[in-house]
Amino acid sequence: MVANGKEIDPVGRQICSPMPACRINLLVLPFQVIAVPIKQSMARKEIENEITLTMNGSPVSGRAGMTILEVARENGIDIPTLCHVSRLPPSGVCRLCVVEVAGSRTLVGACHTPITEGMMVATHSPKILAARKILVELLMASHPDSCLICDKANICELRNIAADLEIGLPRFRARKHYYPLEYENPNIIRDMSKCILCRRCVVACQDLKGERLFSVAYRGFESKVVSGCDQPVDKEACQDCDECITLCPSGALRRPRRPGEERAKKALFIKG
């Protein structure tokens, strides 16, 4: 949306108005103009590693090893993601962060593609927006229609992004998953019918906690994040770290709510 603090992509602004992150960016805009010279002088010091590329028509720079997504976020361009978490290695499964790179036959995932010198990237072209919209519609098609009573409805990233992309009723029809609720463990409730297979919990458990409680089983549309051989989460192994629960972008993982405890946040403002 903002590249080098100079330009606002009209399309970018249009699509992400209800997102808190974007609002902050818009507010921060005047300060970023001041901040730019400082950042450039810092970059000059590391001139050897500096890579310049074009994003949405404006020149931006990053350091070797950075991904397109990191550079975009550094420059205030909002690319939606469902599987990416900045402190975890990219898994590139949700495909929502796809961007257009000149010379590439397909759209490339911004979260895992490293930047190269002279790269020409478009992050919000009509082609990309249409693709993102269909991807979220595909996810919504097999997502249960239980938002009204969902514990995470007000902090659900999937719902947030769907609202952002102005998706109403999904145009595709797909089966829905009906898995029994897993509440055997006192620290975590898993409702795998709501899982969108972003695999954040799999990676988080492994990389942040060194445990390997979760893995993916079955294949294709039947894929499911399971614990062990598709058993309830082990009471001994899962030690109430909440890491996966806070990262879960949908209502699939949640803490058992204690009596009297309130919901995590106030109800979400839905546009339109």
Binding site: P90, V93, V98, R175, R219
Partner: protein
């Protein structure tokens, strides 16, 4: 253009259990030539000059792949032969492995010499378990004759997943993980098996290597079209009186293969490249078989007038949905939605808006999927929508 036996030169002539019969037919002369006269650079230059492209379906220039892997930093490198011939309707690799395992191993040894690799792997499809002993016997005999020098070849067996024929999923499977496509970059040339630079080639590609080395890039370069050199082995099946394996010079017309050799009659359409392949209606039967037009892995399935397009496309999509690894959204959800939509058309309950939705979904799957499966899954739908739109429209509910 004529039928040519280059890859299949020894098939049916030698005894695959006896190395002596192979040596009579100039066996291992290419490997000897490489070891005595050529530097690794000269080998990759020769392959590059030959214009050989990968025969597994994607058609990536083989020389570039080898050069990239050779130049990639890292001491340990690997060679993998992809013998996980899972594509629907292909059986050419099985035909080759059954009849001439020696040339394949010679090709792998040349790749190993080029990289300075110590280990090569043959990833054998689970269904080809009966070839395990034959291949192991061939490797043992070659080792006894001392042709492999410091290079060892191991056979790894698959467990029956279609996706594991995709190179990155294959490597995941070999590493003992769940076979799933990886995102790229990094490409296998720099980070393949166990994160090491890896050459991964189809059986047929590796079969071409000894021929190119022995006869020179110029000889190979003469065959084929401008961007597709050499020959291609096709597996022809379906409604034909003479199904089987045929080798043709690239650029030959589809008619020559289907009607000339396999003697097909009353053809309605031809699916080239298996489940993820393209559908060619009979009107376009004069299409040349090249990488630029249609080719894939060389599976040619012929359907006659009695077949129903929607039925074929629906069953193709059911197969792909079943075999999708489920990692990325467009492939996992997209194939499922397509199966649902096509099933409705199959029952005659399609909706008018489905036609546009299918086209839109096809495009997004092609653009955003992680690997070749998702990217090519919608080919059959796209092509049938283009060539057989009547079939869809007649199944719209209320018609």
């Amino acid at each position: 253009m004529p039928q040519e036996n280059i890859v299949l030169k020894n098939c049916g002539v030698i005894d695959p259990r006896q190395i002596a019969t192979f040596l009579e037919r100039d066996g291992f002369q290419a490997l000897e030539k490489v070891r005595r006269e050529m530097t690794p650079e000269a080998v990759t230059d020769e392959i590059k000059a030959s214009g050989l492209r990968g025969r597994g379906g994607a058609g990536f220039p083989c020389g570039l792949k080898w050069e990239g892997t050779r130049k990639a930093p890292g001491g340990e490198k690997y060679v993998i032969c992809n013998a996980d011939e899972g594509e629907v309707g292909t059986f050419k690799d099985r035909y080759i492995l059954e009849r001439d395992p020696f040339t394949l191993i010679e090709g792998m040894a040349i790749a190993g010499y080029t990289l300075g690799a110590k280990t090569g792997f043959i990833y054998l499809r689970a269904e080809y378990h009966h070839l395990f002993d034959l291949l192991e016997n061939a490797i043992r005999q070659i080792e006894e004759f001392g042709f492999l020098a410091n290079f060892t070849i191991e056979i790894r067996e698959g467990a029956g997943a279609y996706i594991c024929g995709e190179e990155s999923a294959l490597m995941d499977a070999m590493e003992g993980k769940r076979g799933e496509a990886r995102y790229r970059p990094p490409f296998p040339t720099t980070a393949g098996l166990w994160g090491k630079p890896t050459i991964i080639n189809n059986v047929e590609t590796l079969m071409n290597i000894p021929r190119i080395i022995r006869n020179g890039a110029g000889w190979f370069n003469q065959m084929g079209t401008e961007r597709s050199k050499g020959t291609k082995v096709f597996s022809v099946s379906g409604d034909v009186p003479k199904p089987g394996v045929y080798e043709l010079v690239l650029g030959s017309s589809l008619r020559e293969l289907v009607e000339g050799l396999a003697l097909a009659k009353n053809t309605k359409m031809i699916q080239i490249g298996g489940a993820t392949g393209r559908i060619v209606p009979y009107e376009q039967i004069d299409t040349p078989l090249t990488f630029e037009s249609v080719l894939g892995a060389g599976a040619v399935i012929v359907f006659d007038q009695s077949r129903d397009v929607i039925d074929i496309v629906h069953r193709t999509m059911e197969f792909l949905a079943e075999e999708s690894c489920g990692k990325c959204t467009p492939c996992r959800q997209g194939t499922e939605v397509m199966v649902e939509t096509l099933a409705r058309f199959h029952r005659g309950e399609g909706l008018k808006k489905d036609l546009k939705d299918l086209a839109d979904l096809s495009e997004v799957m092609t653009l955003t999927s992680l690997c070749g499966l998702g990217q090519a899954a919608s080919n059959a739908v796209t092509d049938s929508l283009q060539h057989f739109k009547d079939a869809y429209e007649s199944r719209v509910a209320g018609n």
